[in-house]
Symmetry: C2
Subunit: 219 residues, 2 copies
């Protein structure tokens, strides 16, 4: 048995795999799924088409993985943004929305691909998990607020889903501000006050100061 894979080759293999998934993510972020046929992904990664299939079972397998990784990253960003010890639920939700909104505006095409652009069933399943994750992060905060008496009684899951929808439409969808050339910051402010009222938090005006603060979470 003259050949045995070694650390060096393992690393090289992993590197190629990552080049491929990075290429896929970049292409998707630039022009959506339609912009990322296997041939283009391979070209961007600097490998042959066949090589893609040596590292991934199929195109949808590759996409599902890319999607999943990107999703996790996004949700983690929101989770961190809402982790404000001692803050009121309203503030925490506002922080989460701002984090989401800033990220979505920065990577508008990717956000759309993640949240809405339809693909094949395998990826669709990942998308469901992403949206659920977003909802759960927000719902958890709402539950805290309700228990603490800061927020009125309400179906936390339903409210959280509506918040996710509102953000998505206002930031990523065709009605979003940058699509119309409007000022993104103003749109975010409007969205935050909308959602703040919606969850029944005593209206807190987000200051430019704390908005910048949460904006920095975008890593």
């Amino acid at each position: 048995m003259p050949y045995r894979s070694t650390k060096r080759t393992e690393a090289r293999k992993a590197a190629v795999r990552e080049r491929i998934s990075n290429a896929a993510r970049e292409l998707i972020a630039e022009g959506g799924y339609a912009n990322a046929p296997v041939a283009a992904v391979a070209a961007r990664a600097g490998v042959a088409v066949g090589t893609v299939y040596r590292h991934f079972h199929s195109k949808s397998g590759l996409f599902a993985e890319v999607f999943s990784a990107a999703s996790e990253h996004e949700v983690e960003a929101m989770r961190e943004a809402t982790a404000l010890p001692g803050a009121a639920a309203g503030e925490r939700v506002a922080a989460g929305i701002e984090a989401f909104a800033h990220r979505a505006l920065r990577g508008r095409r990717l956000a759309w691909a993640l949240l809405a652009e339809p693909v094949d069933p395998a990826v669709e399943a990942e998308r469901l998990r992403l949206r659920r994750s977003y909802r759960d992060v927000i719902a958890a905060v709402l539950a805290d607020g309700i228990e603490a008496g800061e927020l009125p009684a309400q179906d936390a899951d339903a409210s959280a889903a509506a918040v996710v929808g509102a953000i998505g439409e206002a930031m990523v969808g065709p009605l979003s501000p940058t699509a119309n050339g409007a000022d993104p910051e103003a749109a975010i402010a409007a969205l935050v006050s909308f959602c703040t009222r919606a969850i029944g938090a005593t209206t807190i005006e987000t200051t430019p100061a704390n908005r910048m603060e949460t904006a920095n979470v975008n890593a």
Copy 2:
């Protein structure tokens, strides 16, 4: 010049055209755009593939027309639902949301196809118009309410967009109640109170009575 189209043939032609677009709408409502290849549309309409192309310039032309007609119908339903002379803005928005929600739940697949499922650019343009129309209907009511002093000052367009997004996510998206087996009526109630708070209306509890009333608008 032995042949000249007559009323009879014109009518027959129009009938065929309508059979085709109806077939397309039905197939889309059953299984989305992927369920409606030209061959299937032709089969359902009882004509040959070529005939479809005699009546429509292309597949996307056909789809755009079908989409546009369905959209108009939906928006009109919402417009009628919100036309409650003398009612407060909050009630009117609530009525609009209930109309939207009931229609979306009844024709979930079609609603998804209209609001979110991605297709080609020609259809995408129609979708933008649909969402804008929804937003504009709601924004108009909000503007009335703001002017009348019933609602706090806010960016009516931004709020309306967020409302559209919230409805979409809560009713059509993957987080929607029927997707999870929950009680649709409860979800609608949660959504209505969420949006009512969001626009800053003094909370009005929608009664089962007026909910039934607006439900009947679904024509």
